[in-house]
Amino acid sequence: MTQPIVLDKSHIGKTYGRVTTEVEKGRLRFFAKAIGETDPVYTDLAAAEQAGYPSLPVPPTYFFCLQMLDVPDPTAWVGEIGISLQNILHGEQSFEYLETAFAGDRLTFESVITDIYDKKGGALTFVVSDTTVHNQAGNLVCKLKQSLVVRNPGGSK
């Protein structure tokens, strides 16, 4: 018998991860190196400017990273709602892009838990959160939706 995870649905509405961060060229180059990006637009300012960009662009999945880089303890909220980091997997992730962001932009992130629900009789719990990213002009540049899967340690793998 699996023991269902008791995850309090009252955590729906909890906000976390609010941070304002400046996008830095050096960090973008490190990210490009880590993912094997070879397009010079992402590493070479001259190439970016030639492409019509004011600076190096923030690549599509990097919005997920910026918040983790600059929140002092980016996974603290997971523990605060009673989940062990050992038991989480990333289930789904989506991005909606409204504007392109560039090095030098100051971006403000804020996340809110929007849903918590069980599947497989409590063997798995899903925690859904939405994140907004606004730039220094107050424009919404990106919306993220994340679904974390919590594996019940007592359940089958």
Partner: protein, 139 residues
């Protein structure tokens, strides 16, 4: 970049695929540092084993970043409107991921011409790791 146009693509059009090197511990360490995702499941074998995993494994968002590279190799990224990803398998050490994309629909939406692209990241054995969809505006 390929600079495709709305008229140059049809449902069934394939994006140029992308294959990356087999996943190594060094790659995981670099990605953890560069992404800010320091969850120890990906960089600490002891922690991963305690969690019941055979060893460290790839960040889902690492594999996702390769899908992003495939898309921005096809269009400049300000054309990407949406990216939706479902993580359907764990990318284990030594898995070699290939990314592929297929145009599945042409549509007009919010006053612009867009295509819906089905995207997949799979390892060398054909096991899918991420399936998803991108919505891209084309001139």
């Amino acid at each position: 970049m390929m600079n495709p146009t709305f008229n140059s693509v049809e449902p069934g059009t394939q994006l140029p695929p992308l294959t990356v090197p087999p996943l190594s511990r060094a790659m995981l360490a670099l990605y953890a540092g560069a992404s800010g995702d320091h969850v120890p499941l990906h960089i600490d074998s002891d922690f991963a084993r305690k969690a019941g995993m055979p060893d460290v494994f790839g960040h889902g968002m690492y594999t996702a970043a390769w899908l992003g590279r495939m898309l921005t190799g096809w269009v400049s990224q300000e054309r990407i409107r949406k990216l939706e990803l479902r993580f359907v398998g764990i990318t284990h050490l030594y898995n070699q991921v290939s990314c592929s994309g297929t145009v599945v629909e042409k549509l007009e939406q919010d006053g612009e011409r867009r295509v819906r692209v089905q995207i997949v990241a799979a390892n060398q054995y054909g096991e899918k790791k991420i399936v998803g969809e991108a919505l891209i505006a084309l001139p």
